[in-house]
């Protein structure tokens, strides 16, 4: 087997399994441990949890989002493009079809292009912010830079490979590999905020709304 076949085959399996099972493991262990935290389940409320989530998932829904308009726009664009591009990219759907005969609608190619570039540019914005803003620099560690690279690289290399800028096969292998690294990193690093966000926000919304009769946005 050559390197391409390894990343395209067994490593892809490993990455996907670690991503799914790792995520399930983190969420389930959180749910179990939350029983030990006596207040969590009694306080949780569907209505107030959703109310808070709604305010924080809509651009400018919270006061702090309105105070920081540039960051709000960048982070919403970043997250939307980050999630939608890998799922709705034609090339990815083709791969899934080849393996499992399942397909779904795809993004137009130029849209996917723009979205990939936006993800990379957003990562640059986050990087600059980390270096330039003192309050962010104060809580920045090496791992924060590494995580930014982990997220930016799949999009950068994917864009370059698609446009065949640079040596194609190595770039393609790099894209698949960095994508797999990102998948594996998600459950076990701060990238897990991807799923924890919903729980922490719903909890805070419940505590503020259900228990304290106050608003948390």
């Amino acid at each position: 087997m050559d390197l391409y076949e390894i990343v395209r085959g067994p490593l892809a399996w490993v990455a996907l399994l670690v991503f799914f099972l790792g995520t399930v493991y983190r969420i389930v262990s959180m749910l179990i441990e939350a029983r030990k935290d006596k207040v969590v389940y009694p306080y949780m409320s569907l209505k107030y949890g959703l109310r808070s989530l709604m305010h924080w998932l809509i651009p400018f829904g919270s006061v702090n989002m309105r105070k920081r308009p540039v960051m709000t726009v960048v982070t919403f664009v970043f997250h939307i493009c980050l999630v939608l591009t890998p799922i709705f990219l034609l090339a990815h759907i083709v791969l899934v079809y080849e393996s499992w005969q399942v397909q779904w609608c795809s993004l137009p190619e130029c849209a996917a292009d723009v979205m990939s570039v936006l993800v990379v540019l957003a990562c640059v914005y986050f990087l600059v912010r980390r270096i330039v803003s003192p309050e962010v620099q104060n809580v920045t560690f090496l791992s924060d830079y590494v995580l930014l690279a982990v997220v930016a690289l799949p999009f950068l290399t994917g864009f370059l490979a698609y446009h065949q800028l640079g040596p194609y096969r190595p770039m393609l292998i790099l894209h698949i590999l960095t994508g797999e690294i990102m998948l594996v990193a998600i459950p076990f690093t701060r990238l897990s905020h991807m799923f924890f966000f919903f729980f922490t926000r719903a909890y805070m919304g419940s505590e503020f709304g259900n228990v304290r009769n106050a608003r948390d946005w």
């Binding site: 959180m30 441990e33 009694p42 919270s62 309050e135 104060n138 924890f196 948390d216």
Partner: protein, 443 residues
């Protein structure tokens, strides 16, 4: 080891002397006990989910008042304390504990404003309270705060008030009120009354007139009420803030036991924020109650109901330009911002609201146990809340109503520290000027 960015040295024997008795093994064991046995999912998830974005920074009055000094951002306070303890698995030294105690007790009011600015709603107040718990278990607590906690443990009230002093104070205030209002007696231990009124610790010692004012209000409103003659009269709870949760629970237990013993329908408490928080949430939580066994009504809500229902009539309005403080523990902590404005507008003709307001208002910087850390830390408090002074100055008011004891004292310090030329009053002081005493009750 984390180094603590430059701060002015402050002497406090509760921190400086107590750390000398600590051993590394004791520190490690205590930290691990709290992290592994007393904390669970919340601690882990709040620490793991933080993406180090720093968006919480502009929530905090400390950060804003220090012109964006990064060490005062909520995330920085948490990073310099609990993150280090977790990362080093408890292997930190005594100097670190002193630094962590300084941050947790004097540079954070656990006001929860930051959780409204963090996209994840991370409860940084909870993380800081966990640090305080660890420091308390190691005996490292600012001296003045520890003294009030010792008082709670020994006398069940905050101010070393002895039982005979308590009754003497009540009788004195009753006499004063009887000069103005017929029948303004303070019923003690009256079983089956509708309301048990409990006061905040400092009142009998420093502000007994507030007890007298409530006596007048209750009598004029025709309420069926009572007060405890002995332990259980103090609803304040400094132990909640020092991390001594066991004493906190004992105090709250006595408070509710008294109300249950007297078979009252509800407890009305005076104007205090932390007392409400301790009695409504933190005490019951530790005792295993989801809700207090007897409903607890804060003074602001009580006044609102009295005015709205017409049980007391407002015949005069307070004329001077006046503004208001939103105490964290009853606005962010209970949503009483609207009711507060209702009673302000009902009694004041020139009420000027503050900006930002309601849940987004700033803490007074005295709550959360910080003013109770005493005189050594007063400069820290005043310097850390310039934004509050700016807020009040912008209203052009001459009087500030603070329906909370800690806010009252803290804002007095800010008024004098920033030379605002304003007076600070409790709401009851305004209310008694404005109510009508029915002819039948006039002495």
């Amino acid at each position: 080891m984390a180094t603590f960015p430059d701060r002015e040295p402050v002497e406090d024997i509760g921190l400086d002397e107590t750390i000398k008795k600590l051993t590394p093994e004791q520190i490690e064991k205590t930290i691990l006990k709290v992290l592994n046995e007393e904390s669970a999912a919340r601690l882990k998830v709040f620490v793991d989910t933080c993406v180090h974005c720093g968006l919480c920074s502009n929530a905090c009055h400390f950060y804003n008042s220090h012109d964006g000094d990064p060490k005062y951002a909520p995330v920085s306070k948490v990073k310099d304390t609990i993150w280090v303890m977790i990362k080093k698995k408890g292997k930190v030294d005594a100097e670190f504990i002193r630094g962590a105690a300084r941050i947790a007790f004097t540079e954070c009011n656990v006001c929860r404003r930051c959780s409204m600015y963090c996209p994840f709603g991370i409860d940084m107040a909870y993380l800081i309270l966990t640090v305080r718990r660890i420091c308390h278990l190691l005996g490292v607590v600012p001296q003045y705060l520890q003294d009030t906690v010792n008082s709670h443990a020994a006398t069940l009230n905050q101010m070393w008030v002895k039982p005979d002093e308590w009754i003497d104070t009540l009788q004195w205030q009753e006499e004063e009120q009887l000069d103005e209002v017929v029948g303004a007696r303070i019923p003690l231990d009256r079983m089956g009354a509708d309301i048990m009124y409990s006061v905040i610790g400092p009142e009998p010692k420093f502000l007994p007139q507030l007890i007298g004012q409530m006596d007048q209000i209750m009598t004029v409103a025709g309420m069926s009420w009572t007060m405890p003659s002995l332990d259980g009269w103090d609803n304040s709870n400094m132990a909640m803030y020092s991390g001594d949760f066991e004493t906190m629970a004992r105090v709250e237990r006595k408070h509710y036991d008294k109300a249950l013993e007297l078979k009252v329908k509800k407890i009305v408490m005076g104007e205090c924020g932390h007392a409400f928080r301790g009695a409504a949430y933190d005490g019951p939580k530790w005792l295993g109650w989801k809700h207090p066994p007897v409903p607890l009504i804060h003074a602001v809500e009580f006044y609102h109901d009295l005015i709205e229902s017409g049980k007391i009539k407002i015949v005069k309005k307070f004329e001077e330009p006046i503004t208001v403080q939103d105490p964290c523990n009853i606005v962010r902590g209970r949503g009483l911002g609207q009711k507060l404005r209702y009673i302000m507008n009902a009694t004041c003709s020139d009420f000027r609201d503050v900006e930002p307001r309601f849940e987004h208002n700033y803490c007074c910087n005295a709550g959360g146990g910080t003013i109770n850390c005493g005189p050594p830390w007063k400069t820290t408090r005043v310097k850390g809340n310039r934004v509050k002074a700016d807020q009040f100055r912008a209203t052009g008011a001459k009087v500030i109503v603070t329906p909370c004891h800690n806010c009252h004292s803290g804002i007095e310090d800010i008024v004098s520290g920033y030379k605002l030329d304003m007076h600070v009053k409790f709401f009851s002081e305004i209310l008694v000027e404005c109510i009508e005493i029915p002819e039948s009750l006039q002495a």
